[in-house]
Symmetry: C2
Subunit: 491 residues, 2 copies
Amino acid sequence: MSKEITSRNEDYSQWYNDLVLKGGLADYSAVRGCMVIKPYGYALWENMRDVLDKMFKDTGHVNAYFPLFIPKSLFEAEEKNAEGFAKECAIVTHYRLKTDTENKGKLIVDPEAKLEEELIVRPTSEAIIWNTYKDWIQSYRDLPLLINQWANVVRWEMRTRLFLRTAEFLWQEGHTAHATKQEAMEETEKMLNVYADFVENYMAVPVIKGIKSANERFAGADETYCIEAMMQDGKALQAGTSHFLGQNFAKAFNVQFMNKENKLEYVWATSWGVSTRLIGALIMAHSDDNGLVLPPKIAPLQVVIVPIYKGEESKKTVDEKALEIVGNLKSKGIRVKYDNSDNSRPGWKFAEYELKGVPVRMALGLRDIENNVVEIARRDTKEKISVSIDKSVETVESLLIEIQNNIFEKALKFRADNTYTTDSYEEFKQLLDKGGFILAHWDGTPETEEAIKEDTKATIRCIPLDGKIEPGICIYSGKPSSQRVIFARAY
Amino acid sequence: MSKEITSRNEDYSQWYNDLVLKGGLADYSAVRGCMVIKPYGYALWENMRDVLDKMFKDTGHVNAYFPLFIPKSLFEAEEKNAEGFAKECAIVTHYRLKTDTENKGKLIVDPEAKLEEELIVRPTSEAIIWNTYKDWIQSYRDLPLLINQWANVVRWEMRTRLFLRTAEFLWQEGHTAHATKQEAMEETEKMLNVYADFVENYMAVPVIKGIKSANERFAGADETYCIEAMMQDGKALQAGTSHFLGQNFAKAFNVQFMNKENKLEYVWATSWGVSTRLIGALIMAHSDDNGLVLPPKIAPLQVVIVPIYKGEESKKTVDEKALEIVGNLKSKGIRVKYDNSDNSRPGWKFAEYELKGVPVRMALGLRDIENNVVEIARRDTKEKISVSIDKSVETVESLLIEIQNNIFEKALKFRADNTYTTDSYEEFKQLLDKGGFILAHWDGTPETEEAIKEDTKATIRCIPLDGKIEPGICIYSGKPSSQRVIFARAY
């Protein structure tokens, strides 16, 4: 029997967990809130990472690596940043264990090995990086500094969800330094566009680009840009953020440079990041009640071939033809697996690869070979076609493109169908219960946003960058507003 | 002026630090014992990682990711392993900071946010991984499990050196599970061979494959295989290890599987790793008093082109021709940089790229273009030749291969010249002071090894795999010995 997946209607949250666990993407671990990323999930992350890494390099960035730990005195230097992360950070206080003399075979923390200064496991690296940049930046000739880091970070969240919110997660964090405010602003927007490009064109998830309200801004930023995606339950998921940090960190760490006029100035900063959380977004944007649906461009496997045979002789014939097709697909750069394992029957394999979201499945039997045809099934629509074996490679090639486009279009239509505009607070609340994005007027104050959140659990996801200027009155306070913002409940 | 490098003769240790710091590979950080890997050093690591990663995948391994933290109760489960790492590990005891009411703007560890169970920052991941494998392995069908992880680890070393020994370092750790002892043994040796292949054929560092004595064995292993390299001061550096773990972790974490005969058996294990320490080996094996010497196969930059011009008009002509050469080199997959920055003069650039170890430097001036020639200098021998521009690409291509081979041969000759055989303990001590590897007989006891170490600071680097069986008497105790082993002082 294939593995059972809870349906979305029955229990959306359980459906999600089923996909992560039974799809082989991740597993729970012995450490509270930390997950194990399993090989299939990690292969997906590697593909995402490789595409992003190339995009960063193509836009002039280089990679580096900074320490995992941040001494407390550096951590607290930028006050808002420190305040934002202080409540959820892992703290190293000791550097040695010793034998527990009262319990054989057990160890205890050695009280004599207490650190003079506690170390914070990085929840984000602005502090340690800007403390380093101080030594690297003297003159305008040292700028811009365009550095990215792939790393693990830890935020001691109280309520965790696989991929979506884990105590430790993998991410990249870009940290750039610039001579002018304008250049830093341009960098902030450039990286937001890189993220939007990646999420839409590789992950096939449509996003809305926007600016966060003050309440939702990154701790220590002057402005946070974000991309927001809609999940199949109508909730929003923040898929990436790019922060304009002004001179906040330069001032906290005293990073000044000699400008062309020989005057000392504080450096301007940005930071931007996406994380393994994106995998959560990917799952919830496309998958269905039969399992994962992965976009071909980043799927660990793009094609699986399942042989159908009875007896050794027929197996040999099918193997031979299948391996020929495998070779032809590989020569086109297609990631393909031929599963002729004896452990399970074709039907079980079909269900398994459907669960794993492999975009294209081919089934090949003895009679097919006699007729020179092969059955090709697409994961997204579950349509099957029978094509001539000679044309199978080109069929697969165009199908992979079509699937990539189709799941993006489907997600885009879903978002359009679940995006509403309203000027009535009563309707606003009803719409929220249906789920989706709501475009509504807001008076621009944190107090109103807070009150709406208190009342409805919805937050302002962003002030959309392409939103039109359209005077109106705030849905909650009745005060004037210049533009609609996007409200939603969010992950 | 170019940056000053201390010569090897003057102060070998300072020479090494100068290369790391002034060559732009790494920097000290605000965290005791932790370094910052700078972009140039990280690009080198990325190239090394990518080659290794492909080698692992080509031998059937997949990547995954396990938690950074290990709960103390799991950490102590395999007693020898725990004992080996207990004295040097970073321990997380709290998960929250709070405002220090007595010092404005400062934070203190919140005593109310103490963890019920302390978390060890992984010094190596056997414990957390084998605790996970318990859930993944039920039957022989689940085996072998061939998983690798790229990760950061922390060992609270008292004396640290950039790359060679840092509190936090980057590495990969393979953790495999097998149904039989023989299969695990074969895996252990296979991965040792992968490491030797990589270090010799990509890093151009010759290594000796061998087995560690019990004293030098990995904590928790039944047998540790290693590759040992010789540095230019004659000291040894362990460049990689592959451990046969027997059933030690399977027993500690109760990982059993149903074999084909339907009987429960404990699983057999291996683990193997190389780290950013390899960069230290690379530096000390090849570099000279002018700076780094990097092997072309993994050098971040393989070729740099420096233009020589006076005035804008001549710059334009040189730029044009240089960019044409850059294009031709890139089309051959060569990593090339054209440095036409105005910040510094050609002589300064020459010294800078020599310091950074770029294998090939091309210099191109107006007169060269008129004569259709370009000057090509190789970093390893410092020889310069003038070749026709039309032949420059093929010249560079063959030069990169030649440099790769030459620096390997040079290191191989150096090792041969500094490897001695002796049967006299007095001569043994004199040779050690000269520096190098010494092949000598040893009685096989930990006591003798310890006594020699105490007396001379030399350890047994390995029992060489290709050493011939040759009866003799122990250089220290006079007791019988069946084979010479390699002694050396080591990093």
